[in-house]
Symmetry: C2
Subunit: 387 residues, 2 copies
């Protein structure tokens, strides 16, 4: 019998604390073994056990990240489950005391690995590091995530490419649903490794096909897990199609459970999705684009490499989300990024993540105050500017 005997498998991990009257936006609280998470929330991506370029103490003290994301694919390949197990799980390995969500590895198998082959059994793939062959199944990615000890685990899914035709997407959704059944069954039959409750989120797929998204959302809702996710968006489709898909799916997913939109997106994408009832986000954009000189500021989006900043000694952001944003000037950061200095990546990443975290915290505040809609409209306008 399972270690966690609660027959509900954690579906009461979430409480809605306030709902916007004009939109579908809501503010909530996620309860996890490593602490509560106010929602909407943005999760910095900590691929291989590190949010690139940021010390853990800066994640808590300067950015105030409530939860971070780890990639099962990366962690499984390096350092490997044996090391993570010997360390006592990922929290201990990376000295991180707050919650962690891990994806299932499905997305990376399709975006990073070589020679992948899908069967009913699972996904065979080659490591992008050393070419070695591996198999991910709905069951073994749960085993891996049990060892990692993430607070929230994700089911193995196929993230179909964009564009793809209806025929392919339908077949892909069927495979994802087959894997979902096995994942849920295996999840219920197994225990956490680290004596702490873990949640499993299923993932809605179906590309931009409304009929498939509906079927998938119903399937996911029926699984009765503690929270649910929407995958396969922000993969190249127009933003309008993404928003339409979110509306369809969120009309079906239960109101009383958290909804996680995977891998999205720009600040505007996030605000539009919060309006449509999304609670959780992750995206590499603030760190990856930051390393390349893209800054999200209260004055709009900036490419710090542009010549216009060469002698602009004003702070990175007049409304600084983090201490680095007021300490350093645009001209200094431009110099660091142009020179390929590590410190440029560090400062951009801290600033951008702090910007994202403050944005979702502000959205939460506005939802609870009852004036989300007008605030969001003004923010979308501001954040669409490029300077």
């Amino acid at each position: 019998m399972s270690y966690i005997c609660a027959a509900n498998f954690g579906q009461y991990m979430f409480e809605v604390q306030g709902s916007d009257r004009e939109t579908k936006a809501r503010a909530g609280l996620l309860h996890t073994p490593h602490g509560d998470i106010p929602t909407p929330v943005f999760m910095p991506v900590g691929t291989g056990g590190t949010v690139k370029g940021i010390l853990q103490r800066d994640l808590t003290d300067d950015i105030d990240a409530k939860i971070i994301l780890g990639n099962t694919y990366h962690l499984y390949l390096r350092p490997g489950t044996e090391i993570i197990k010997a360390a006592g799980g990922l929290h201990s390995f990376m000295s991180w005391g707050r919650p962690i969500l891990t994806d299932s590895g499905g997305y990376q198998v399709f975006s990073l690995a070589g020679n992948r082959k899908l069967t009913d059994e699972g996904a065979v793939f080659k490591s992008h590091i050393d070419g070695s062959r591996h198999l991910f199944t709905p069951e073994n990615v749960i085993d891996i995530q049990r060892i990692i000890g993430s607070d929230i685990m994700m089911v193995l899914d196929e993230c179909a490419p964009f564009p793809c035709d209806h025929r392919y997407a339908k077949k892909s959704v069927a495979l994802t649903h087959h894997w979902l059944d096995r994942a849920v069954q295996y999840f219920k039959a197994t225990d956490p490794v680290w004596n702490k409750e873990q949640f499993l989120f299923p993932i809605v797929q179906g590309g931009v096909f409304d009929d498939l998204r509906k079927i998938s959302a119903e399937k996911v809702a029926e699984a009765g897990m503690a929270g649910n996710a929407i995958g396969g968006l922000s993969v190249g489709e127009p933003a309008d199609e993404m928003y339409r898909t979110i509306e369809i799916v969120n009309g079906i997913l239960p109101q009383d459970k958290p909804r996680y939109l995977m891998g999205v997106g720009t600040p505007v994408n996030i605000l539009e999705s919060i309006e449509r009832g999304i609670d959780m986000f992750d995206c590499v954009m603030p760190t990856r684009n930051g390393r390349n000189g893209m800054l999200f500021t209260s004055e709009g989006i900036i490419n710090i490499k542009n010549r216009q900043w060469i002698d602009d000694f004003s702070p990175l952001d007049p409304d600084p989300p983090s201490s680095v944003s007021s300490t350093y000037s645009k001209a200094y950061l431009r110099h660091l990024i142009i020179s390929g200095e590590i410190l440029g990546s560090q400062i951009s990443s801290i600033h951008n993540l702090a910007f994202y975290l403050r944005l979702v915290a502000k959205a939460r505040e506005k939802i609870l105050e009852g004036n989300f809609k007008s605030w969001k409209e003004s923010m979308v306008k501001k954040l669409s500017e490029r300077r």
Copy 2:
């Protein structure tokens, strides 16, 4: 007439607070416009206006760097003096409130730049960044350092290669001395740009030739500047020759002025040089080698990439010099370095610099307590171990 009218040109910037009875080691205090510096001191290298991989707040709060070094060559090429001037000097540009020492660019012209040509006038060289042609003279490197606003400036010198024959070394020393005369004259005739006193240190050269080192040390001592430096060591010669050269030079350089050994070295090199009367050090080793996985610890020197650390979850150092040294494990840092993660460079650099800073602080304490010699012997033994 010069802005700073003090006819001594700052020679009273230094006070010796304690001298070891058994050795030439001494503890002192350097007074600069940006604060006092207890000696012996180690200066982290901040080449292009950044100590690679380290936020300025971590340099002060975690490492407690009392002064950092900037490279005139790098700063002149990028961002360039125009930008540094517009920023109000380097302190302001990089948001660093503590003292800065800048080298003259001489060393980089020989180690980095292409197509260099030496004349009486100065050094013509090609930028390693874009191949553009430039000229450094004894005068214009002072102009550049005036704009940078460093607390301590260095004279232009030729750092002769090792090995080189006596004939070449003699010619090289003559050129360095010719440049020194011009530098001192120009220094006395010009004012600081930022209304703050700046000191100029001349540099003793002469390779490993005792006669040339004596001549050069006498020449440098006669210049009557506030402090003096020894260059051209740790360029490939055996450590014993370096120590012998230091002894010869320090026998001639004035006791009441600080002595700066440029670009040295390992922790053992530093202790041996402190014993021989050196007060100031800089070296890229703790950061550059740190980025590559070499850790200086209280248990000896570690190559963190070695397989033996793969599942060693003990802290980086049982006697942690910085907070990262106790927060993170050897296995975690190994994983980061092996994976090429930025955070690996950050943690190694903070740890190693904190280790160096603590080592010289401890040396100072032991000198003042009067038991430097025995402590040094035990430390040299410890620090020579490789694990």
